[in-house]
Symmetry: C2
Subunit: 268 residues, 2 copies
């Protein structure tokens, strides 16, 4: 049997009891990077028709297309599969106080370079914004990346990991807004909520909200340790959502005032 | 401390190790129905400032506004809170093969009566459909409901639980489509995926897909045990999504043909 087991959000204690019963925690663990999962799936699946092989993944197994691909591959090889679900940012983001049914499609924001600034995320945020829906923006990470020189010379030397920060994400969003000028994102009047390490408990999880301008001027440490995600608040914002999130506001006064005057929240 | 602990999708084995460490599984359990959680929150929170009180909930704690409300109440009483996340249908629906980032907002479908047919879900599905996005439709359940007579006489006698079936859901969707006639739902050409007990493993989880007409004519047992959910497939359907789901098709031939001719999937 080939298992894909979701590890949940933070550390080894977030595995479910069902996942734990596979008892891999006493077994040999092989660290599989994205490259390995994508290019060596046949090695991973070898013998899974005769013995149990488990692929442990952060969050829920269906958060990444890579995992769907390997299940398709297992099926083609007639290997039975089983998925053990767990929490992922796609549902745990509810911790910020916004209701999950008010979210539209989720988007990813990648690191811009001088020559490559992919901006299709903007169209998705606009589609959500036009309907008043919130958007979960997943921020890029670079892990096991090679410099252009090392890549060219075939040297397996990797750069230190990089995680996109909230101020950088806001800066990229505003850069594209300034090009497109559709008015869906405004530093002063668009509310957003930064989340990191949701489910990590006191001293680990961070939820910080404010206008885009407020978030962009906070020092990085305000937002806690990576990974970070950013929620762009949609105009359907309900006053109970705004009240819940107010606890996390950089400035509760501007938060409430903006929710009231720009988003039309009807606080009692 | 007041804990809200997500139990995940199926049974007691889906709790995370972090949730289990609270050791409530050896403690007195009080069955709290929705009415109790909503109207007796002060009783539930009593003493939570001095001892640990845990509210265990199906799925993830932030799947229901009720749970957000009780956290707000705890905060007002200065009681520290902690949330333990878990899988919910909002992310585990990825098991059907459709990518989570192609989903728009989630909607709920309630049992119609002769005199009450709330249809705002249709507007939400249309908003998603117009953008080509998939819609997760959560089907109604009736648990601990009183008949009108028992309610009028103040008798705490409850009707047997009822769970909306997939054919009934399709019938209600088509009923509203026939009134509105915007063409977003068509028995013959709209594809949908029925899911039940996702994460429940062999013999428990069921995923069944086809056109709305095909799903509406299947016997109920095809769809397995409740709870059921239904995904309305959006026009952005990618051929890899269609291929993954094809395994679950009532009729793989019509599934693929519809995906190709109506949804424009480009199978190689």
């Amino acid at each position: 049997m080939f298992y894909i087991i979701g590890l949940g959000l933070c550390d080894e204690k977030d595995i479910t009891v069902r996942g734990l019963e596979e008892e891999f925690y006493g077994k040999e663990l092989i660290l599989a990077d994205r490259d390995m999962v994508e290019t060596e799936s046949d090695d991973i699946l070898r013998n899974a028709d005769k013995e149990d092989v488990s692929l442990l993944v952060v969050g829920d197994p269906f958060g990444a297309t890579t995992h769907t691909d390997i299940i398709l591959r297992a099926r083609a090889l007639k290997i039975p599969t089983r998925v053990i679900h767990n929490a992922s940012i796609m549902n745990a983001v509810g911790a910020c106080g916004l209701q999950l049914y008010n979210f539209g499609q989720t988007v990813s924001l990648v690191f811009f370079t001088d020559t490559w600034k992919p901006d299709s995320f903007y169209d998705r945020i606009k589609e959500n914004a036009d309907l008043g829906m919130h958007t979960l923006v997943l921020l890029d990470i670079k892990v096991k990346e090679q410099s252009e020189e090392n890549l060219a010379r075939g040297r397996k030397i990797y750069e230190p990991p990089r995680y996109m920060s909230i101020p950088q994400a806001v800066s990229q969003l505003i850069e594209i807004e300034e090009q497109r000028q559709t008015g869906i994102l405004s530093p002063e009047t668009t509310l957003a909520i930064a989340v990191s390490r949701v489910g990590g408990g006191e001293g680990n999880e961070r939820i910080v909200c404010g206008t885009l301008a407020e978030l962009s001027t906070q020092p990085n440490q305000v937002f806690g340790q990576p990974l970070h995600s950013l929620v762009i608040v949609g105009k359907r914002l309900h006053h109970l959502e705004a009240e819940y999130a107010e606890t996390f506001a950089v400035n509760p006064k501007t938060w409430r005032e903006t929710a009231k005057t720009v988003y039309g929240c009807d606080f009692e």
